[in-house]
């Protein structure tokens, strides 16, 4: 046990002192800060952007009713103008927050609404909500001329309140955000685990391993190394999350943030569960990578040796990612229970309020059993393969090594 901690401590110090690690950590933190700052810059102060629509209604077809409308919440502000069409076009062209509406009547009595934008290439026609507002104002205007009472007009222009409900289980949070978190979890676990393979191969190819295995058991080396790299990875992830959290608070308006992420779903218990799944997921993949790392003798064989583990990880990730589109489906539940995908899936099911206690316990148990089995197989093969030098071990030879006494 003491040797595991010695190997772990040495691994941690080795990793954090590496220039590549220091530079990549700083770069990731700068990207996070830069990303949030960019959101702030491109979205202004976070409040809804108001588009000014210059209204040119020389025949007063809308009876000046548009000026009195308060549409800031919808993002529009009407402003009457008597300027020439050329001047209006010039204003629209120079100000990206200004469009124009030219209102004319044809000889046959039909009304022509010309909507002027800066660039038609980036426009999708008159916004639907704006068209509805214009139609509604014109109708109300017409009804007023019929000398109807306010109640009569109101009954002809009803205001509906639309509500949406789901027949099945209700899902909390934003699915797109959940998918984003799933990607972050996958990359954090995958690349952290990959370091184990890289570290083992480096020791083997640089011939240090022979000194190492005479100093302590292969089991202590594998476990110490896995724990050391895991702790560094976890600290790096925690630092990134903390930085993201601080940046979100600084750069993103609270109201806008609450529209993207349901902050009420982020609790201490969820953080602990996510941490648990990160650790278990990391251990599963790190121990698999310890196995593949010990089977190569040349650095150029590392990629091909790690291929099968990478395929398993990608299958696990996509199973989790795509079933997230239908989180109440049975496939998503399967992804939350399978050890190759549960670390990327179950924390999100919990966040969406879909996971029962039984499912969480079952998923954790499956992961723990998987880790024990994988650890035993990996350490056994590592012990036999680590002193082997020559061509890359194929699957048949690995099985032979496993069966060796």
């Amino acid at each position: 046990m003491k040797d595991i901690f010695i190997v772990m401590k040495f691994t941690i110090l080795d990793m954090v002192k590496r220039k590549a690690f220091i530079i990549s950590t700083i770069v990731i933190l700068l990207l996070i800060v830069g990303g949030f700052a960019a959101v702030k810059i491109f979205s202004g102060d976070g409040k809804v952007k108001v588009l000014t629509i210059l209204v040119h209604d020389q025949e007063n077809i809308f009876n000046n009713k548009l000026d009195n409308l308060n549409l800031k919440e919808l993002g529009y502000k009407f402003s009457k103008t008597d300027k020439s069409i050329e001047d209006i076009k010039s204003k629209v062209n120079s100000d990206s927050d200004v469009d124009a509406l030219i209102i004319n009547k044809n000889k046959d009595g039909s009304i022509v609404l010309t909507y002027i934008v800066k660039n038609l290439f980036f426009s999708n026609g008159i916004p639907e909500d704006l068209a509805n507002i214009l139609s509604s104002v014109y109708t109300s205007n017409g009804l007023e001329k019929l000398n109807l009472t306010k109640e009569q007009i109101a009954s002809l222009n009803p205001v509906f309140e639309y509500r949406y409900e789901q027949a099945g289980e209700e899902v909390k949070g934003n699915i797109a955000v959940m998918m984003g978190i799933s990607i972050i979890l996958f990359y954090a676990i995958y690349f952290c685990a990959f370091q184990v393979s890289s570290s083992i191969t480096t020791e083997k190819t640089s011939k240090i391993i022979e000194m190492l295995v005479t100093s302590t058991s292969p089991r202590n080396i594998v476990l110490g190394k896995t724990l050391g790299i895991g702790i560094v990875g976890l600290c790096q992830l925690a630092l990134n999350i903390l930085t993201s959290f601080i940046c979100a608070r600084i750069f993103i308006d609270k109201q806008v943030l609450s529209k993207v992420v349901d902050l009420s779903t982020i609790t201490v218990s969820l953080a602990l569960i996510t941490l648990l799944y990160f650790i278990l997921g990391y251990l599963t993949y790190a121990l698999l990578y310890a196995l593949t790392g010990s089977t190569v003798s040349k650095p150029e064989d590392v990629q091909s040796a790690n291929g099968p583990v990478a395929i398993i990880a990608v299958i696990g990730f996509y199973l989790s990612y795509f079933t997230m589109m239908n989180p109440t489906g049975k496939l998503n539940l399967l992804a939350a229970l399978l050890p190759i995908s549960s670390p990327f899936c179950m924390p999100l099911r919990i966040m969406m309020g879909l996971a029962s206690y039984k499912e969480v316990i079952l998923s954790v148990l499956i992961l723990i059993i998987t880790i024990i089995v994988v650890a035993n197989i990996s350490i056994k093969i590592y012990t036999r393969a680590i002193l082997y030098s020559g061509s890359k071990l194929n699957f048949k030879k690995i099985i032979m090594l496993y069966k060796q006494k």
């Binding site: 010695i6 590496r18 011939k207 240090i208 022979e210 000194m211 190492l212 005479t214 302590t216 002193l387």
Partner: protein, 296 residues
């Protein structure tokens, strides 16, 4: 007291890497483990160090089966390896700690050996800035830093210049004086002859010769005569039907089958009144014995 191997066998697939070998080291000193490439030396060393399991036989240290946990080993492998980007002092402390030495004691030991091996100035550096020879001395420190009872040195002098070879030889002799048991594997036979009292020669996993080096040599007849004379004696050698192995400036190294042939040659030179500066009847070298045993 000591190391004992009895009928040790190791098979890889269908190939017997080590085939029923036995030897023992009963007193402190250096034991020579010799063999051609692929003879089974490294496999034997790995089994002694308990990093490779044997198929059959027994390996004991002081009467108990060897195990990594119980025997205080030191090992300098043939293929050198150090962490290139980690400070030398940090990796030496790491290996010492794994051998159960406290940080304080390991620092004392590092300073002591760094001074003896003349690498004090490199201790705070990373190995990638060091020459191959100095890296080798650092790795030698890793093998002895914890004061092992049994030290295994696989080709300890390969790649070292004469100055560093001298330093390392001095250290090894000091270790013998301290009563350490050392197993040395080397391809340079003169190194083995210089240090080892007992040897074993392996070929294709099998023992072809073992025992005390002097006793082994004494069983072999003389096979060379080294002669320096005042003038050339090529005609005398030809007359005696002997073969010249090497000659220059009236120096001759002549092959003989036994001592009698050498004495006969001496008589013929004396008869012709040629002044002799040197006349040495030579026993076969370890190299001769090794080549003969392996080829046969």
């Amino acid at each position: 007291m000591g190391l004992k191997l009895e009928n040790v066998t190791k098979t890889y697939g269908k190939k017997k890497a080590v085939d029923n070998i036995s030897f023992s080291i009963n007193k402190p000193g250096i034991f020579g483990l010799l063999g051609t490439n692929g003879a089974g030396k490294t496999t034997t060393i790995r089994m002694i160090l308990d990093i490779l399991s044997k198929d059959s036989g027994s390996i004991t240290w002081n009467g108990k089966n060897v195990s990594r946990k119980d025997v205080n080993f030191g090992y300098l492998p043939e293929e050198r390896g150090v962490y290139p980007k980690i400070k030398i002092i940090d990796q030496l402390i790491y290996f010492a700690k794994l051998k159960g030495i406290s940080k304080e004691d390991s620092i004392k030991s590092i300073n002591k050996w760094a001074k003896i091996l003349e690498v004090e100035e490199y201790i705070q550096m990373t190995p990638d800035k060091l020459s191959k020879g100095n890296q080798q001395k650092i790795q030698f420190m890793t093998a002895i830093i914890h004061d092992p009872e049994l030290l295994v040195l696989d080709e300890p002098f390969s790649g070292l210049d004469p100055v560093n070879t001298g330093i390392l030889k001095k250290v090894i002799l000091e270790l013998i004086k301290k009563g350490k048991y050392i197993i040395m594997s080397a391809h340079e036979m003169h190194t083995i002859e210089e240090f080892c009292s007992d040897i074993i020669i392996l070929d294709k996993g099998k023992t072809v010769l073992k025992g005390n080096l002097n006793e082994i040599k004494s069983t072999y007849p003389a096979n060379r005569v080294s002669v320096i004379t005042e003038k050339g004696i090529d005609d005398i050698i030809e007359e005696a039907k002997l073969e010249i192995e090497n000659s220059h400036d009236n120096y001759y190294l002549i092959k003989v089958k036994n001592e009698q042939e050498a004495w006969n040659l001496l008589k013929k030179i004396v008869k012709k009144n040629i002044l002799i500066t040197k006349f040495e009847i030579m026993k076969p070298t370890l190299n001769d014995i090794f080549v003969e045993k392996v080829r046969s």
